[in-house]
């Protein structure tokens, strides 16, 4: 979405191009973009055939990060009993009832943060623009033990980039 935002207003952008620039597998991008296209309302529109590709369905100023995250990853939910949207009558389990209040606050804090920032905000952000010659692909990132979950990231020492 950042890539599409950077190219907003131009010709449709092919996943092949995005794949090369962002160093992400084409077949994987296809799966992600499917969610973005089928969302209601859609976040991207497609043009098939040669010289086809994808464009944002709206201006980056009209797309919040919360919308993108929800489309790609589902409703915000730090815990199953604190899932966004449905006030699921679930797990009124002794103590868990206590913690449910906390998870709801966490959920709302996350949602507000995501909803308060648009794609355009993200693009405009020029806080710390470091040496762009040094970079690594997401694929190259490896962590020793547990590191992928939301709260799990102990010993987050990651390989330095060799250049």
């Amino acid at each position: 979405m950042v890539d599409l935002a950077r190219n907003y207003g131009g010709r449709p952008r092919s996943l092949t191009d995005i794949s090369q620039v962002e160093l992400l597998p084409l077949a994987y991008l296809e799966q992600l973009v499917k969610l973005l296209r089928e969302a209601e309302p859609p976040l991207v529109v497609s043009t098939r055939g040669a010289h086809g590709g994808y464009k944002l369905s709206r201006s980056p100023t009209q797309i919040t990060m919360g919308e993108i995250v929800r489309v790609l990853e589902g409703p915000i939910a730090p815990m199953i009993c604190a899932t966004e949207g449905e006030m699921s009558q679930v797990c009124n389990f002794l103590d868990s009832c206590k913690t449910k209040v906390l998870w709801a606050k966490v959920r709302d804090a996350v949602a507000q943060t995501l909803d308060n920032m648009t794609l355009a905000d993200l693009m405009a952000d020029t806080s710390e623009q470091q040496d762009p010659s040094r970079f690594i692909a997401l694929t190259d990132i490896h962590v020793n033990s547990t590191a992928k979950g939301f709260f799990i990231a102990d010993e987050p020492e990651v390989r330095a980039v060799s250049n």
Copy 2:
């Protein structure tokens, strides 16, 4: 921790008791409590042998939920490149640099929410205390598709409790 807080000031509480009341496996509790005991500073203290058990190391007013979560699940990190603590010089990857700012905001929002609530606050919370006769064990919770991750919880329809 909620169970220990409820019994704060009394005798040591055994994991067997907690296991029965909270419907959580004893062997699993043993693993969790190990982290709480070995934390620096410790969150619980133990007494071995018959009539032994665990007590909170401090008053519930002196223990934040942030501290508990970090001990049990590691540093708060919505993304590997936004891990709490170490400003890991990692993944200054083209676009990811943009999103990193967002993830840092999410991380801080979560951290602030967790750090602003103590165990005592949680205990005092009496917002919606429903019929405690209807409950299900955490073990009994099953979701159809994806539902355990932080953002992942689409179609969160969970089995209702049969009574």
